[in-house]
Amino acid sequence: MIRYLALRFAGLAGVLLVICAVTFTIFYVFPADPALQACGKSCTPERLAMLHHQMGLDRPLWQQFTDYLVGIFAGRSYGSGPLAVQCHFPCLGFSYQNNMPVWDLMMQRLPTTVSIGVGAALLWLVGGVTVGVVSALRKDSLLDRTMMVGTLTSASLPIYFTAMALTVVVVQIGGLLPYSSYVPIAEDPIGWTKNLILPWVALALLYAAMYARLSRASMVETMAEPYIRTARAKGLPERTVVTKHGLRAGLTPVLTVFGMDLGALLGGAVITESVFGLPGLGQLTIDSINKSDQPVVMGVALLAAFFITFANLVVDLLYAAIDPQVRYA
């Protein structure tokens, strides 16, 4: 188990390292000189040269990359002498736009994204799995068919379409909820909920549909297994057969997908955030890309990749707990 964990963590670090290198290449090699952008309109050659030095851009590329890596774990200082700027752990550089540390910028935005992601995830997990399991148990009934047509449609709805339609119907015509904005949960839990209901529902409609289809397919397959017949034959009540024997095996595939989806969502629900105008990581990404603010884009990309790979790891470990067939040596 320890050996397995160590291997997995090494793998995780490897993936992040490669992503880091790729991001670095994309954002530092391709575009125009970042110092020129930071320099602004009234730029003199001296000031540009100084900025180059300050940002470490006058050093060889591989050295810039190692500096960046070291900065993440140990912090670093930009420039030298009296002009040096200290960047503390975990240092992902400074935004070109407002000179804020990238880490702080991201941490400001993270609560919004987490609020959207976790809330929606709970909603779609419960909703989707319930629909899927009920459908599977009543396979080929009218209810099953109706629900499957419904989920197919709901899965085909583009999120921005759902978002706009919900806003028009619920907010504009119905007047039931306020136009979405972000209120921190600590300040006003009720306001937080009210503001996030629409984004949650919009996201959940899309994902729940996929989960319903997935859990239905998986449950149908599981309930046809011989051990389910055995469980029934030894006289267990149907409820126990379904919950104890069926769900456990039937829902394992759902878990894998759930981990990956939630991980991906925590890196920024780009579209949802931009439709509802919520200041999360996704918004930050779009803003930074539009303004060529490379350190921020790189920071967000790394954080998002971390969430995805980490979620994968957690899922694999949970697998062992749920499914006794999968035990790691």
């Binding site: 993936v15 992503i19 790729v22 920024g268 780009v270 998002a304």
Partner: protein, 316 residues
């Protein structure tokens, strides 16, 4: 050489009654599946619409980039005059707020862009994924490890963020082509993994061993013996990838880094609509319904393919 019985996921020759080829059997199953037919009909409709775009716009008399200032209300910041976004006998689906361009014409031309990009991107992903998956599965050893690692790596990228970032730093060029390759690049590992898995199970099947024993060349074995047996899962997966790509293209255009104006795509129309949806809901409903219908149609068709190609029958 006729394809012998396959793995459980592949084509349905195992249960084929004598005298019917597996593909004909599948065709028969599809013809009896209302969902497949509905999907096919919707797709055919949109494809025809895209092909006949110049004809259709000639019919209603408004080009996709013709401005009609008389149709919008300057006093209301450019909101369309008339109810439902300015729908009338002349402008069948109303006009675009702010410019007065005909929504119907833009929708028809948008279909071209949306379908072309998503199908082409799926093509790129399918070809690359099949070639690399086949190579990994058949070669095994180090080559397999190498290709598999690359696939894992690409899959753990936050895709939308990287697509946005890549498209935004790519040099000014043919944006549609760039979108196709960027979307294809992030899509191939999904198909690659499936193809690799299938190839692994096929590699040591009797008919492949037999071919090897007759001294057939490796490339010939791959193309003549293994590849035909992969067509079914690849077809299913490709069909199900198209709707995902339609969504991605729309999302990228929605975020302002898709096709450039004056080209129109459904996603771009949606992105324009976000500023107007409270005043003029018709404007977002049109591209939204188009997106919904095409995605739904391709998903229905893909599901139907999978059921029809499943040797366990269409009962799942």
């Amino acid at each position: 050489m006729a394809a012998p019985p396959l793995t459980t996921e592949a084509a349905g020759s195992a249960s084929a009654p004598a005298g019917q080829s597996p593909w004909r059997l599948v065709g028969g199953r599809l013809r009896r599946d209302p969902a497949a037919l509905a999907g096919l009909a919707i797709i055919a409709l949109f494809v025809l619409m895209a092909i006949a775009a110049p004809l259709l716009t000639a019919l209603n008399g408004h080009g996709p980039n013709e401005f009609h200032p008389e149709k919008i209300d300057k006093a209301l910041a450019g909101a369309p005059k008339g109810a439902f976004g300015g729908i009338d006998g002349d402008f069948w689906l109303g006009v675009e707020p702010g410019t007065g361009r005909d929504v119907f014409s833009r929708m028809v031309y948008g279909a071209r862009v949306s379908l072309l990009i998503s199908v082409a991107a799926t093509g790129v992903a399918t070809v690359v994924g099949t070639v690399l998956g086949l190579t990994a599965g058949f070669a095994g050893g180090r080559i397999d490890t190498f290709i598999s690692r690359i696939m894992d790596m690409v899959l753990s990228f936050p895709q939308l963020i990287f697509m946005i970032a890549l498209v935004s730093v790519l040099p000014e060029g043919n944006r549609m082509l760039e979108l196709v390759f960027v979307m294809g690049f992030f899509g191939w590992p999904y198909i690659g993994r499936i193809v690799r898995g299938q190839t692994l199970t096929l590699r040591h099947r009797e008919f492949v061993d037999a071919a090897r024993a007759t001294g057939m060349l490796r490339t010939r074995i791959v193309f003549r013996e293994v590849l035909p047996n992969l067509l079914a899962p690849v077809l299913v997966y490709a069909t199900l990838t198209i709707p995902i790509n339609i969504g991605t293209e729309a999302a990228l255009s929605f975020l302002g880094i898709g096709v450039r104006p004056p080209d129109s795509s459904w996603g771009q129309m949606m992105s324009k609509a976000i500023d107007w949806y409270q005043v003029d809901p018709t404007f977002f409903v049109v591209p939204g319904v188009c997106l919904l219908l095409t995605v739904l149609a391709f998903t229905l068709l893909g599901d139907a393919f999978r059921d029809a190609l499943d040797p366990r029958g269409a009962g799942r």
